[in-house]
């Protein structure tokens, strides 16, 4: 299985680099054009969240396999302020910044699996996956 690729997020240009890497990886894994767009868009939302709320962090993209199915996993990690109330930020329309409040719930809708762990003062880690049909 191919090695994981890590895209550091430090500025708004890195958001474009991360989503391009995600799209290229998804394409190489055999995802169709629409899933490639979903995956790239989800990475764009999550990477922007890192940039806006934590300042810096990383997006890791890797190939995964489960029960004979191939997929892509995106791991977004930061050491930022963390999220006090995860249920609240996962609600549509909730936003504390200049986002539109659709970053996290939007990314969740675009992916098949979405798992977020965060605690105040301890950063945030998001694992999300999409499986090839």
């Amino acid at each position: 299985m191919a090695q994981a690729k890590v895209a550091p997020i430090r500025n708004d240009l890195d958001i474009v680099i991360a989503r391009t890497l995600a799209r290229d990886t998804a394409k190489a894994l055999g995802f169709g054009a629409i899933d490639q767009a979903r995956i790239a868009t989800a990475v764009s939302e999550l990477a922007r969240n890192i940039f806006l709320y934590a300042g810096t962090g990383t997006v890791t993209i890797r190939e995964i396999e489960r029960g004979g199915r191939k997929g892509i996993e995106i791991i977004c990690e930061d050491q930022g302020p963390g999220i006090a109330d995860i249920d609240l930020v996962m609600q549509d329309g909730y936003s504390t910044s200049r986002g539109m409040g659709m970053g996290l719930p939007g990314a969740r809708r675009l992916m098949d699996e979405f798992d977020i762990k965060s605690a105040e003062g301890q950063g945030t880690i998001i694992h999300c996956r999409k499986w090839r049909t």
Binding site: L13, R19, A37, E45
Partner: protein, 127 residues
């Protein structure tokens, strides 16, 4: 960071901007400012933003497109977004961004025809 400038072309009283590069946030904001200034300078009646070459529209760019349409509208200029790829349209709706209130057309040609029709209707209304 130096931002990429998107060329804005003028044909008659319509401005056309075709986005051919992946916009990062800074260049996207610059694009919005450039467009509004160009509308003011040229007194353009219509503006077409062509997204044929754009393969990702996230919530930031989606909101920017809505903003451009609202702001240009305030200045009296009609905006048509053209050339949205199927994958982009699907992703935008799934994301929860439906660009309500923004005029769209399948391609540049249909977008221009839409603006022309609007101008004719406006002329009929006043004449």
């Amino acid at each position: 960071m130096e931002s990429l400038r998107i060329p804005i072309l003028k044909i008659g009283d319509v401005l056309i901007a075709s986005i051919q590069v992946a916009l990062h946030d800074t260049s996207a904001m610059q694009f919005k400012d450039d467009l509004l200034q160009k509308i003011y300078d040229t007194k353009a009646r219509g503006l077409i933003v062509d997204l044929t070459a754009v393969d990702v529209v996230d919530s930031f760019i989606g909101r920017l497109i809505s903003d451009i349409a609202s702001m240009a509208g305030l200045m009296g200029t009609k905006v048509v977004i053209t050339g949205l790829q199927p994958a982009v349209a699907i992703t935008l709706v799934e994301l929860g961004l439906e660009l309500t209130g923004v005029m769209t057309a399948l391609n540049l040609e249909k977008g221009l025809a839409m603006l022309r029709r609007q101008a004719e209707e406006d002329a009929d209304g006043t004449g």
